[in-house]
C-alpha cells in the first residue's frame, strides 16, 4: 500500500524479505526496534510528524520478487523496499523503479562506499538504489581433516590442481566428501554463486561481457572440466547436488566434519556454523575451520589476470516511484544506511560486511573472516550482471553443471548451454564473440 498522508501525518512504509521470528529476523528487528523510533524521533525534531510502518515478509526470494513486481506494477507497495541486486535491471526496464531523486547525490554515504559496490546500485549509468551490503566467497576447510590428510592448517591452494590434490589426499584419509562445490539446479542460485561463476572467473571468464552474453567459451568448459574431475573421481557427492535440500545438507555435513573443503560465502561463517546461533553450529568453528581464497585455474589465469577470484552479490534498498512522499522516503532510506544505523544493525552478533568503509573498519575488526574478506577478497571480486535475462542464463549454467555431474562431457554440456543462451539472447548474433 502506498503511503497516504493523513492530515499532517506522513505515513511511510518499508519492506524487506525479513520477518520477526523467521527469515532475516535480525534485520526485521533492526527496522522495527531501531530505525523506526529513531527516524520518527529525528523527523519530529525537524517538525515533521512521520509514522513509519514495517511490512515484513519471509518467503522464497522468487515469491518476494513476484509480490514486489505485482505491487509496483499496480502502483502499490511500500515506499522503501529491498531488492536483490540482480533484479534491478528488469525492474528498471519494467518501469517499476525510477532513478533516485536529485537529493540523493548529496547523500553523505556515497563517499564511504567503494566504487565497485556503488556499481551494484547503478544501471545504465544511473543510480536507482543504495547498496545495503556485499559479501564474498572463499574456500572453507576443516583443519582437523586437513591435518589428518597431511595438509597444512593454513592451506592456500594456488591452482585448481592443488584443490584436486588436496581432495585426493582427503579421500585417502577417509573423508567421506572431500570437496563440496555446488552444482545442479536443485541448489538454484547457490550453484551459480558458490560454484560455476567463481570457477569461470578463475578461468578468466564472465557470463556477460560488455553487455553481451558470452556463451560457451573456454572458461566455461574449463569450469565444467573441474566439476567433472571432482564428481567423477569420487571427490564430491553427486547425489547431494540433486537433493532439494542438498545445500542444507552440505552445511550439516560440514559441521559434522564430513566435508573437507567447501566453497561458500561469508554467510556460511556468520549464519551457518556460527557457534552461537548458526543453523549448523560448530562450537569449535574458530579453531577448526580454515579459509582460503579461491584460486584461479593457474596463477594469473583468472579474471583480469588475477591469481585469485571471488563473486559478490548484495541487496539494494530503493524507493517506490509511487511513493506519495518521495522526499521523506529517501530520508528514511538514507537513515537506514547511515553509519550509526549500520553500526546499530550489525552491533551484536550480526556482523556483516556493510557497504560503508567507515563502518566496516569499526565492526569487522573482531571477526577475522570478515576482515579477511573485506580486505583480501573484495578487491578481487566480481558481480553478476543486473539484467533481466540473468536468471535464465543462471539457470542454464546450473543445468550445465547438473549435466556434467551426472556424466555428460563438459563439451556437450557447454554446447547445450550455448544453445540456450542463444535462445535467451534472441540469436547467436547477440552473443559476445
Amino acid at each position: 500500500q502506498s503511503s497516504s498522508g493523513g492530515g499532517d501525518t506522513i505515513e511511510l512504509t518499508i519492506t524487506q524479505n525479513a520477518i520477526a521470528g523467521g527469515k532475516n529476523a535480525k534485520s526485521a528487528e533492526y527496522i522495527t526496534k531501531w530505525v523506526i523510533p529513531k527516524f520518527e524521533e529525528a523527523q519530529k525534531a525537524k517538525g515533521k510528524d512521520v509514522k513509519v510502518k514495517f511490512i515484513p515478509s519471509g518467503v522464497d526470494d522468487e515469491q518476494y520478487k513476484t509480490k514486489l513486481s505485482l505491487d509496483l506494477k499496480s502502483g502499490k507497495g511500500a515506499d522503501v523496499l529491498d531488492i536483490d541486486g540482480i533484479w534491478m535491471g528488469e525492474f528498471v526496464e519494467a518501469g517499476y523503479l525510477k532513478p533516485l531523486p536529485a537529493q540523493s547525490d548529496a547523500w553523505e554515504g556515497w563517499s564511504q562506499i567503494p566504487e565497485a559496490v556503488q556499481g551494484l546500485a547503478a544501471y545504465n549509468g544511473k543510480k536507482y538504489a543504495l547498496p545495503v551490503g556485499t559479501d564474498g566467497r572463499v574456500l572453507y576447510f576443516n583443519k582437523t581433516l586437513m591435518t589428518k590428510a597431511g595438509l597444512p592448517a593454513d592451506w592456500q591452494p594456488k591452482s585448481w590442481q592443488e584443490i584436486l590434490d588436496a581432495g585426493a589426499k582427503l579421500k585417502t584419509a577417509g573423508v567421506p566428501v572431500p570437496i563440496q562445490i555446488n552444482a545442479g539446479t536443485a541448489m538454484g542460485e547457490a550453484t551459480s554463486m558458490q560454484g560455476v561463476l567463481p570457477l569461470m572467473a578463475g578461468a578468466g571468464g564472465e557470463v556477460q561481457k560488455d553487455g553481451k552474453w558470452t556463451g560457451a567459451g573456454q572458461p566455461l568448459k574449463d569450469a565444467l572440466g573441474l566439476y567433472q574431475k571432482i564428481y567423477s573421481q569420487g571427490l564430491g557427492d553427486p547425489k547431494l547436488q540433486q537433493e532439494a535440500k542438498g545445500r542444507d545438507k552440505s552445511f550439516a555435513q560440514f559441521a559434522e566434519g564430513k566435508i573437507g573443503i567447501l566453497m561458500e560465502g561469508d554467510y556460511f561463517w556468520r549464519g551457518v556454523i556460527n557457534p552461537k546461533d548458526g543453523v549448523a553450529k560448530m562450537a569449535d568453528r574458530d579453531q577448526t575451520v580454515g579459509y582460503a581464497m579461491i584460486p584461479a585455474m593457474e596463477p594469473g589465469k583468472g579474471l583480469r589476470g588475477q591469481d585469485f577470484v571471488s563473486m559478490s552479490g548484495g541487496s539494494l534498498r530503493t524507493l517506490n516511484p509511487a511513493s506519495k512522499h518521495p522526499e521523506e522516503a529517501f530520508e528514511l532510506l538514507a537513515f537506514t544506511l547511515s553509519a550509526d544505523g549500520l553500526k546499530a544493525e550489525t552491533g551484536t552478533d550480526n556482523v556483516r560486511i556493510t557497504p560503508r568503509a567507515d563502518v566496516n573498519k569499526e565492526i569487522l575488526a573482531g571477526d577475522p573472516l570478515l576482515t579477511y574478506i573485506s580486505e583480501k577478497v573484495l578487491p578481487l571480486t566480481a558481480y553478476r550482471p543486473p539484467v533481466a535475462a540473468y536468471p535464465q542464463v543462471s539457470t542454464a549454467l546450473q543445468e550445465a553443471t547438473a549435466a556434467v555431474v551426472s556424466g555428460t562431457s563438459p563439451d556437450e554440456a557447454a554446447a547445450e548451454y550455448q544453445k540456450k543462451v542463444e535462445g535467451i539472447a534472441g540469436g547467436a548474433g547477440n552473443l559476445a564473440s
Binding site: Q1, A20, G22, G58, K67, D248
Partner: protein, 274 residues
C-alpha cells in the same frame, strides 16, 4: 472356519496392517519432532521438551496466523457452501439446457485459476475491486475457484434426496425458500458438511493467493504463509519451529474433521455420479 476363510482372514489383516502402516508412518515425524529439543528429519523418541511450543507462542505471527486461517477458511467455506447449495439445488431440480456442459466447462476453467499463471489477472482484479489487503478479497477469490467443484459434488447430493419430502412440504403451503431451509438443507447436511471440510482444507493449505493479496500486513497472513517464513536467513528450514507450527497448524483441521465426521458423518451420500 474353513481353510479358505482362514487364509482370507489372514490376507485381510495383512492388507489392513500394510495400509495402516502406509498411511500412518509418514505422520510419525509430526508426532515426535515438535517435542524434540533438536529435531532432525529423523523420527526418534524425543528428548521430550515443550520449549518449541514456548517458542511458537512467542512467535509474533504464529498464533495470529492460525486465527487468520480460520477466518479465511471458515469465511470461504460458508460462502462456498451457501452459494453452491442454492445453485446445486436449482440445477438439480430444474432442467436448464446445457446444464451439464456448463458445469464441466466451469470445472475445467477452475483448474486454470488455481495455477500460477492466473496470479496477475487475479491480483489486478483485486486491485480494481479494492479487495487488496482484505480478508474478503481472498475469500471471494478462493470461493470463485472452489465453487464449480462444490456445485458439481453437491448437485449429486441433491439429486439423491427423495422429492416426496419437498412435495409434501409444498402441499402444506411452504414456499420454495422455506422448503430449502426446512427440508432440503437438513437432508443434505452431511453433504454440506463434507463440502465445508473440503473447502476449509483447501483454503487452509492455500499459499499463493493470501500471500499475494495481503501485501501490507503480515498480521493478516494465514498460517499457510507464515509457515514458509520459518526459515533462516539462508533458506534453511528451522525444524524446531516448523515441526511445532506444523503440528499446531494441522490440529484445527483434524479437530474439525473429527467433529464433522462425528456429528454429520463424513461421506459422499449417494456418491457423485455424472
Amino acid at each position: 472356519m474353513s481353510p479358505g476363510q482362514v487364509l482370507g482372514r489372514i490376507g485381510f489383516c495383512t492388507l489392513i496392517a500394510v495400509l495402516l502402516a502406509f498411511f500412518s508412518v509418514p505422520l510419525l515425524w509430526l508426532a515426535t519432532a515438535p517435542f524434540s529439543a533438536d529435531p532432525t528429519y529423523q523420527v526418534s523418541l524425543p528428548d521430550f521438551t515443550l520449549a518449541n511450543f514456548q517458542a511458537i507462542l512467542e512467535h509474533p505471527y504464529a498464533l495470529g496466523s492460525l486465527y487468520n486461517s480460520l477466518i479465511l477458511s471458515v469465511g470461504t467455506a460458508v460462502l462456498v457452501v451457501a452459494c453452491a447449495a442454492l445453485a446445486a439445488y436449482a440445477l438439480s431440480r430444474v432442467r436448464i439446457p446445457g446444464r451439464d456442459a456448463l458445469l464441466y466447462t466451469l470445472l475445467l476453467l477452475s483448474s486454470i485459476i488455481t495455477g500460477t499463471a492466473a496470479m496477475v489477472p487475479i491480483y489486478q482484479l483485486a486491485v480494481e475491486l479494492n479487495l487488496i489487503d482484505t480478508h474478503l478479497g481472498v475469500i471471494l477469490i478462493l470461493t470463485g475457484g472452489l465453487l464449480p467443484a462444490a456445485v458439481f459434488m453437491l448437485k449429486d447430493f441433491m439429486d439423491t434426496t427423495p422429492k416426496s419430502y419437498e412435495e409434501s412440504a409444498r402441499v402444506f403451503g411452504a414456499s420454495p425458500l422455506q422448503i430449502v431451509r426446512h427440508v432440503v438443507i437438513p437432508l443434505v447436511r452431511p453433504g454440506l458438511a463434507t463440502i465445508a471440510v473440503w473447502a476449509i482444507a483447501n483454503v487452509w493449505g492455500n499459499f499463493l493467493m493470501p500471500y499475494l493479496l495481503f501485501s501490507s500486513d503480515p498480521e493478516n497472513q494465514p498460517a499457510s504463509v507464515i509457515i514458509y517464513t520459518l526459515y533462516t536467513e539462508g533458506g534453511q528450514a528451522n525444524l524446531q519451529l516448523l515441526s511445532t507450527f506444523g503440528l499446531l497448524y494441522s490440529v484445527p483441521v483434524v479437530l474439525m474433521y473429527l467433529f464433522v465426521s462425528k456429528k454429520y458423518g463424513f461421506r459422499f451420500h449417494g456418491g457423485i455420479k455424472a
